[in-house]
Amino acid sequence: MTSSEAKQAIDPRQLLDLLSDFVGSLAAHPSAVESLQSVCERLVSFLDVRAIGVSHVEDGHLRLVAYTDARIPGQHQAEDEQRSGPDIEAVARVEALSIEDLNDGSAAERWPAYTRHALATGWRSMAHLPIFGTTHVSGVLSLYHDQTRRWVELNLAMARLIVELAELYGADWIEIQKHKDVSAQLQQALDSRVVIEQAKGILAQAYGISVTEAFERLRVHARSRNAKLQAVAEAVVNLGLRL
């Protein structure tokens, strides 16, 4: 197998293209996970690697959240079952691990089952970079190649940075989405209350009853017809329904 020459320096124009693509992917993919997936796909060609995977630390395990090659889930599962492998170690030691040649014996000594699986699957070199969350390591970025490879620190730092930015965006997106949902629910609840209160006033005036009694009539009518209270109130206000 031929040794792969890693890029020694990042071309600023290529970096600009990557960052433009990155921003574009964040705008095009509203879902955080889709954005991360899109970023990983772009990084594959930028870094000239065969595959990329991103896992999150959840309940003491690594959960694969994005990957660009069908072989990665199997590799991930092998590591999870054995509770041993470079991803787990990179997270535990909070340190980047790069393996130039899986076949040189040192990887097999540290993670025998993982290395056997990786070689059988066709991988020859790997790099595993912890991803930093707000206060701790939140996951790991894994790069795979099918040839031996000398990993360039600058390129790895760039890849990690891009993924961390995507992760931060994702965290913000989830929070904003949650707020948007609640805000829409609040708007709907307020609109609904306005029409219900108006209906109470109309019925109170129409029958000379209190607003409490008017509300009870609305409620009983809605329940007996299996209708929503708001729908009954709207009928009272807009269609002249009297109860």
Partner: protein
Amino acid sequence: MEATAILRTQSERAILRSREAVLRSRELVAKASATLAASEDIRRRFVQGELPTALLRSLEGSLGPLGAVSAAVMIASDGTPRGEIRVFGADGLERLDHLEFLVGEGPGTDICRGGRSALEPHLAEAVDRWPAYAPAALEAGAVAAFAFPLRCARRNMGALVLNMAKPGLLDARRFEGASDLANCCADRILKMQSLARPGELALGLEPLVGTNMRLQQGAGALSKELGILPADALALMRAYAWENAISIEDLVGLALTGGLGLDQF
């Protein structure tokens, strides 16, 4: 220096700058996490029945630092104010309470309609903008008014309104403090509402909307009496209140009993 070395140096600088951006973003996210932790405390207090006063406490605590004599939080839907909760730092300002609901205009109302900010350092000079609100607020003891949006996903879900007893602009520190308070209030309101069942208003928000909802009851009753739309009835009620200088409670009471005598309109 060779071209490749220059490119490499430029790339490294770009990475360093990006790394700094990430660190700043982390700080922001850390702040958000702290807010989230605080919201857990809010949730616990809500379960214990303490929450309806949480917003009031935030507002009361802000009066001194922001130099305000009264502060209110308004919530809105469909660009219309739907509720207000207000605190006072001095006696004799009570007529500011729900004044914007009574006259249908003012700084908070402008924000609820989508404005970015409503900053009037001299209400005496804002009579053209708010012909009903400005004189009434001045009479009630407010000389300046500043409103800031309660934002969620680029939309205004309400407003923070500050009233001052002295004229003059907010300095940069107070402006920033007011913006932060508005964000905090928006966050509290959303956290409260997140505890409600779908379609219902959170229990903790009831004190905000109570007065406005009674106004809607009155509008409903008057609309039935006069055979007009509730929105038109509300406008008539406001005109009546303005003419007769009565409170919302009295206004609603009269509307529900047919005592407004507006059938000549």
